[in-house]
């Protein structure tokens, strides 16, 4: 079964450093998302991406965050200057190309980001 692949699985970074989280969505999917989950809490929407541009973003997705699709397969989330409160599990997700956002999301296994 097709998977969404995320790397790295764990990332520890110093406060103020930049991090890039990487994702390879399912190949025929066209809608991509980043969500985060602080330990034990709910899954929170960060951003959606379609047709090489951001479709929607939440209040969490401020100027410190950016997303990019640098080639035909990767989808990245960059945090420019990490804060302690950015510590969370970050999930990438994608949805079926033709059905778009109104369809079940396939989530990756996540990157656990720890800011120290």
């Amino acid at each position: 079964e097709p998977e969404v692949t995320q790397t790295p699985s764990h990332q520890v970074t110093q406060m103020g450093q930049e991090v890039i989280l990487r994702c390879v969505p399912i190949s025929n999917h066209l809608y991509f998302y980043w969500y985060r989950q602080i330990l034990g809490q709910k899954v929170e929407f960060l951003v959606s991406f379609y047709n090489n541009e951001i479709s929607e973003k939440s209040e969490i997705f401020d100027d410190q965050f950016s997303v990019e699709r640098p080639d035909g397969s990767n989808f990245t989330l960059k945090i420019r200057s990490t804060k302690l409160e950015d510590s969370a599990m970050y999930f990438c997700a994608s949805t079926d190309g033709w059905a778009g956002p109104n369809y079940g999301y396939t989530f990756g296994s996540g990157t656990r980001l720890t800011v120290v």
Partner: protein, 112 residues
Amino acid sequence: GQQVMQIPQYQHVQEGEDFTTYCNSSTTLSNIQWYKQRPGGHPVFLIQLVKSGEVKKQKRLTFQFGEAKKNSSLHITATQTTDVGTYFCAGIRATGSYQLTFGKGTKLSVIP
């Protein structure tokens, strides 16, 4: 903004007992999705409900979407230890945003 409330937060059941989690949205939804997250895992899509009053079944799992498309429930009959995990509902608003908003989840523990 849109809020999705889910109760209960935790549920401990004896193996073989039934389990239900309830989801309520502050706004009318175009659809609602259910996900399961095993401990240490990622959300896995279970099902999507689209029509008002829709009921869908997957083996021992029964999903319902309310008539007003603002509430939903997941019922598991005769729980098994493999049902352990957190069950999230997530909805997309009927108008405007396509953002999928998750509830806080119900963490199910099954005592063998």
